[in-house]
Amino acid sequence: MEPFCKTWRWLGNDPHQLIGVRILQIAIGAKLLFDVFTELPFATFLWGPNGVGWGSTKPVLGPMLGNIFDLFFTTDTRIFYVLSVLIIGALWLLIGYNTRFATFITLISFFIIHQRLPEITDAGDTLTILVLIYMLFLLPHRAKFSSGQFRVWLHNIGVLAIIFQLVVVYFTSGLAKADGDWWQQGVAMYYISQVQWFMLPSSHTLFINPWIVTIATYGPMVYQLLFPIAIISRVKLPWILLGILLHVGIAVFMAMVSFSTVMIGLELFLISDQEYVQIWKRGHLILGKLVRIPNASTSAVSKIPDL
């Protein structure tokens, strides 16, 4: 009965991860703005009626609603309307303005673009759409709430959904890797690095080194497999730091900046408000000590008797 009561209180009393939610909103807003502004010069080629886009919203929305949404693909102007809404939504998420409505319009506009040209998307886009759906449950930025409200409960359900989604991503990916021969042999990263599509030319020679290739292959696989346990253990914060470094590496060596931005945002989302406060205090303490060093040396100098 005690675990049940504890869970009930955790869900019902106070909203969790408020700082994490804000960081995630910033990460998703930044990712989408980066995507839109870099792809804007190619917008009509990618999504316009005479471009390479061929997809439809019908498989998800059904023929009736899908036909209405597909009208956005019939002229270049309408594509720019959708992109404008996406820019506004992403910008509002970034600055924390009207975040629930911003999440909604971002989700709709990004979904339309995503469906039009599936070939351009990567895992980061799929994850962004899923996370935006869960973010609809979250309390808006700076919302007033009182303990025990139903909206607080829904917020915490949204928080859990985002955490579970991240666990699914890492765990299933780790399990799939563990099933692969090249991953077991520690050479998968060598093969990935030889493909020009995935890796920057500078990394081709790097992954011929046996030490680097083995660590780079086993590292992500072990990280992903242990992720569900690590984030509820004492190594949570170092594990998150490791994940951030992993995604910085992916951004630099695999040119997946927008994917890495979302993943880093999700990693930082896992840190609880109390942990952020502790980190902040420790940071202040360390900074304080650093600042005091010159003072201390000054006082030491003042104690030196005049010669």
Partner: protein, 216 residues
């Protein structure tokens, strides 16, 4: 007229309020059940094939697969170890007439490699543009179908317009597979194995938007 207020009470408690609290609690429990059910289905859908997943496949496809489609294999179990490049040969009307006897060996353009080479600028759209052309080429190479073919023809037509060959009538397409060399085990790597696969000759799509990517 005086209003008569009737209050229901049971064991000294306000009945409508108690019912309201119970209804809210039931809704709260239902949200938790939804969360558990949703992520159980998601896990079953995304995990490698299991007997449960095989049994529930139609249901999983109709729910998670349709509305929350996802797959997190990410370079696993066997990562792609081949570069699939799309090659284009613009053909004039005269060249097209004699193409049945054999295509010319010269004048082929690799339209994938220039986009891959530009990926070095990580703060740009090039990595995602290279997804478009490479995903279509890879998809057609593995299982030929209409959508990737149309995309390849449009991309190749946009390339021809970009390099100033808007007057060509036809384009010949070919896929070049460059297979990674097996792990060298301390030795110097051998040169990669290269294979080409002819796709076909198609009418150039003049209506396609300009890509403004290949201008020299």
């Amino acid at each position: 007229m005086r209003q008569i207020r009737v209050s229901f009470s049971w064991k000294g408690k306000n009945v409508p309020k108690t019912i309201g609290v119970w209804v809210m609690n039931i809704i709260r429990v239902m949200t938790v059940l939804w969360l558990v059910a949703f992520f159980t289905l998601t896990l079953l859908y995304t995990l490698p094939t299991t007997p449960i997943e095989s049994t529930l496949e139609p249901f999983l496809d109709a729910t998670i697969g349709t509305y929350f489609d996802q797959g997190w294999d990410l370079f696993a179990p066997g990562p792609v170890d081949t570069d699939y490049a799309l090659l284009v040969r613009p053909l004039s009307n005269d060249e097209f007439k004699v193409a049945g006897k054999g295509l010319p060996n010269n004048g082929w353009y690799d339209i994938s490699s220039p986009v891959w080479a530009k990926q070095g600028n990580i703060f740009s759209a090039y990595p995602r543009l290279s997804n478009v052309i490479t995903q279509a080429t890879l998809s057609y190479d593995n299982q030929p179908s209409q959508e990737p073919l149309k995309l390849m023809v449009k991309f190749a037509s946009a390339f021809c317009k970009d390099i100033g060959k808007s007057n060509v009538s036809y384009i010949a397409l070919m896929i070049r597979e460059r297979h990674s060399v097996p792990w060298p085990e301390g030795k110097a790597p051998k040169p990669p194995a290269i294979k080409t696969k002819f796709v076909g000759i198609y009418r150039m799509d003049r209506s396609v938007e300009n890509i403004n990517l290949y201008q020299i």
